[in-house]
């Protein structure tokens, strides 16, 4: 009797799992980004490494005083990365063809499907309809999972804060500028318009047009158009992307694709399965309980006799 119940349970459980399959397919729909999302096209062929964007970011976001002045070019001797004190940094790369060394600005790329947002278990991150990936530092518990998840190594951590360390990163000047239709501070200060602000979909067209008109000036690729499901920041370059520190191995699938199928199963496992299996258990054991009761009852009767 017990073995038959077990087999029956397995059979119904298997059926339930297969019912769960369609749930997987609706969870796997891909997100192409908000239609009115803004973005920034970085034309690295125009950047002269003046670091004005770094200064503008520092003042706009009220960040602490830098270690060296913003017109000090000695910082280019090493490759810097974003920190709690600098949400954007410009790095200089080697020119392999004897031309001027290229510079590239680095900051949060504001992915269409951000890995930081996916990984955050307290939902501190939000992708706004304007395209910015912002975060609520009041909710952040400082677990640093997003730092591990980010394929661009962008989120920094306020290690200097002893009591309330939180994540720090570029927010596309959302609260102070983007929300009001203004470009980020770095874009506005750039003397060369190496940074072009506009609707992301327009910037992609504009980037391809620049490549088409002056093919000798660019590699025929816009980094960020497709990478990791698309990013709000897009890059044009004279040299291949990896020569200016842009990772070509990230692929075009957003990070969430790696975990989406699994995550799509979680609500089903947590909500449907307990109810289903409780029902199965009740069904499977109803006759048995009844039989036991009957048995006990008869036993009692026997005792009375």
């Amino acid at each position: 009797m017990k073995r038959r119940d077990f087999l029956k349970g397995c059979l119904i459980g298997g059926a339930a799992a297969s019912i769960g399959m369609p749930a997987k397919s609706w969870a796997v729909g891909s997100f192409e980004g908000y239609p009115d999302a803004m973005g920034v096209l970085v034309d690295t062929t125009r950047c002269i490494g003046c670091r004005s964007c770094e200064a503008a970011c520092n003042k706009e976001q009220k960040l602490p005083e830098p270690n060296v002045p913003f017109d000090d070019t000695s910082v280019f001797e090493e490759k810097r990365r974003t920190s709690e004190k600098a949400y954007t940094v410009v790095n200089r790369y080697e020119a392999t063809d004897g031309q001027k060394p290229p510079f590239r600005k680095m900051q949060c790329n504001h992915c269409n499907e951000p890995a930081c947002l996916t990984s955050c278990f307290v939902n501190a991150y939000t992708k706004t309809k304007e395209g910015a990936v912002i975060y609520n530092s009041k909710v952040c518990v400082g677990c640093r999972t997003c730092m591990v998840a980010c394929p661009f190594n962008i989120p920094a951590y306020s290690y200097s804060s002893a009591f309330g360390p939180v994540i720090k990163k570029c927010v596309l000047c959302y609260e102070t500028r983007l929300k009001f239709g203004k470009p980020p501070a770095c874009v506005e200060i750039c003397p060369q318009e190496a940074l072009t602000f506009g609707l992301r979909k327009d910037l992609i067209k504009l980037g391809h047009e620049r490549i088409r008109e002056t093919p000798e000036r660019y590699v025929d690729h816009i980094y960020g158009e497709k990478e990791l499901g698309g990013t709000s920041w897009l890059y044009l370059s004279r040299v291949p992307s990896e020569q200016i520190g842009l990772d070509e191995t990230v692929g075009n699938e957003p990070i969430i694709s790696n975990v989406k199928e699994f995550l799509g199963m979680v609500p089903m496992v947590l909500t449907i399965w307990p109810a289903l299996f409780t029902g199965i258990h009740l069904l499977a054991t109803r006759n048995k309980d009844h039989g036991d009761d009957h048995h006990n009852h008869s036993g009692q009767e026997d005792g009375k006799k």
Partner: protein
């Protein structure tokens, strides 16, 4: 110098390049133009237009096809091979001081060929720096415009330089 004074009083734009009428119109070309008149970070300065006319071969080196001289850029020649001079010749006549304002982005005509026009600030910096690199002219920020005290504070430089922190070696700046 009288002409110079006139241009100064007309300064309203963030960066000012006053209307330069075509030579064919019989109106004089300015010898000097005050630029950067509205910037907070850098002081205004006089751009020596006369000297640059002597140094360049054609007006089109800076002014595209708008002065009626032959353009060199193959992308421009496709349409502007036989274009005559235009009414608008000044930089600020086409290049916006705020190219990324909500109004400017909305006002873009998707059907227009010219939908990638840099703003006024970028138009000048790109044009000036590219040419200065070719002709080995000055390319440092303060070679053209001196920074204001507000600018020093903005760049944490000069008297506002970080104190007590050792610079990471090497002399930077322009």
């Amino acid at each position: 110098m009288q002409a110079n004074g006139f241009w100064l009083t007309g300064a309203t734009a963030f960066l000012l390049l006053t209307t330069v009428p075509g030579i064919s119109h019989g109106i004089t070309v300015p010898d000097s133009v005050t630029l950067n008149s509205q910037s907070k970070l850098y002081k205004p300065f006089d751009f020596n237009h006369a000297k640059h006319i002597q140094l360049t071969k054609e007006c089109s080196d800076c002014h595209h096809h708008t002065t009626g001289t032959l353009v060199q850029d193959p992308n421009c020649i496709r349409c502007h091979r036989n274009s005559s001079e235009t009414k608008t010749v000044s930089c600020k006549g086409c290049h916006l001081p705020d190219p990324f304002s909500a109004a400017a982005i909305k006002g873009k005509d998707p059907k227009s060929y010219h939908n990638d026009i840099p703003g006024l600030k970028a138009a000048m910096h790109i044009s000036c720096i590219n040419c200065h690199e070719r002709m080995t002219g000055p390319t440092g920020c303060q070679d053209c415009h001196q920074r204001s005290p507000e600018g020093d504070a903005f760049y944490n430089s000069g008297e506002f330089a970080p104190k007590g922190k050792a610079a990471k070696g090497g002399h930077g700046g322009h």
